[in-house]
Symmetry: C2
Subunit: 228 residues, 2 copies
DNA sequence: TAAGATATGATAGTAATACTATTATATTTG
DNA sequence: CAAATATAATAGTATTACTATCATATCTTA
């Protein structure tokens, strides 16, 4: 099982990179340190020049892996959703009871991320923080429709659809399964952001977890409502 | 009443501007055309230089009103939330029944924005679209904590708290009133964004309104649940 | 092991951005 | 009419986001 995990490779849209960063040492260091740097100084202040200095490499070499920092962000975010999707499928696959399965899915999506040693050059905890603080910027652009057509958001969309299918499976009459699913995915990021920067705008804190909030939210929307 | 509305001025944090844009013709043209331009080319591509050319004025003159385009975005977003808060208070003020009041509040927040002729230099429909597409960028920054302390997000926070108080008023035992409130506010923007760019990730469309979705979501979370 | 291919590094250069500073010219007000 | 204020014009700077070219190091394989 451990061995199986170690041979897994998260597949992201090949258009996000010019050269697969997993294929070389330099590529892995680019990914590793871009996560550290974006976490430290934010996506706006992050540049390939600064990254080059940090990893003792050259700006021009980084450009051989990624067209620009936007594409790098698309790579990182796709990787993250691919990784989370793997956790989701792995954890819910064997659960036959629809409610239990959805409950587990919500748990996987909403619980705090912990380090996964299977991918040594990627710090999933920091990457999750980048997703919380920067993910919206990957799609709140004028190019979103083109990039959507080119498949840059496929994994995320698959995630939303997976959850919405689980919702439909429990209550076929519920009129908003996809909206509820996208609300949970996006809302989770938002509640974590609020907990960090606007604690007065969320009930989520050390006592109350996003998992509790969203579990309550989802199961009270669905019928037959046996939750409570 | 019409007259009353016309004398209303939406108060935004004075730190967002160097000189009040409402105090002069040039100021109003800056605001008016910044809304048009950001809507057209997006916040990233928008610059003071381009705006200057468009309004037949000079880059340096615009800098006398706003420190930079980030502050201008803070001005526009604060104005928008101030305007929406006014709609909210005006519409819910006289309703004494807690459920009816919350229902009306959700309606105000979630329904499509229509032009308000009280503010002739501001196109609220386009501004709403800017909020949908750009609002997150005003707080997803490394400076968010400082700017929060300086009061740049006060109006938005007040909105979230108003709704959460209405929720608490209906169900004092509901454990997540603030999270539910912030989910409705943020989620509304997100559902409109999805409807525009990722229609497969939302149920909201011409047949199903965000109002229906969020009304269902909120009232099913609360007890006594007499909704359905 | 030499020849060629490929990866990386170093340097230079460009257009645009996000400003700041200074000076000039209108316009308004007292 | 003079002084104050608002706006415009011009120039200049550091940084960003690249592109292009050439040099060098390393790896492959015949």
């Amino acid at each position: 099982m451990k061995h199986l995990l170690q041979t897994i490779k998260i597949e992201v849209n090949k258009k996000t990179y010019l050269k697969d960063p997993e294929s070389s040492d330099l590529g892995k260091r680019i990914v590793e340190h871009s996560i550290l740097m974006i976490h430290e100084i934010g996506f706006e202040a992050f540049t390939f020049k600064k990254l080059g200095i940090r990893i003792g490499s050259n700006e021009s070499s980084i450009y051989r892996y990624f067209e620009n920092k936007h594409k790098l962000l698309l790579y990182l975010t796709s990787w993250y959703w691919g990784w989370l999707e793997y956790q989701l499928v792995f954890a819910t696959n064997s659960i036959s009871d629809p409610k239990e399965r959805l409950q587990k899915a919500i748990e996987i999506i909403t619980k705090p991320v912990v380090l996964d040693t299977s991918f040594s050059h990627i710090n999933e905890v920091l990457l999750n923080n980048i997703i919380i603080n920067e993910y919206s910027k990957s799609y709140l652009t004028k190019e979103v429709d083109t990039e959507n057509k080119e498949g840059y958001f496929e994994i995320y969309k698959r995630m939303v659809l997976r959850i919405s299918e689980m919702i439909e499976h429990i209550d076929q009459d519920y009129p908003f399964p996809v909206s509820l699913s996208s609300t949970v995915l996006e809302g989770t990021l938002h509640q974590y952001f609020l907990a960090q920067h606007f604690p007065s705008l969320t009930d989520c804190n050390k006592q109350i977890s996003p998992t509790e909030y969203f579990t309550h939210l989802v199961f009270n929307s669905l019928k037959p409502n046996t939750n409570g």
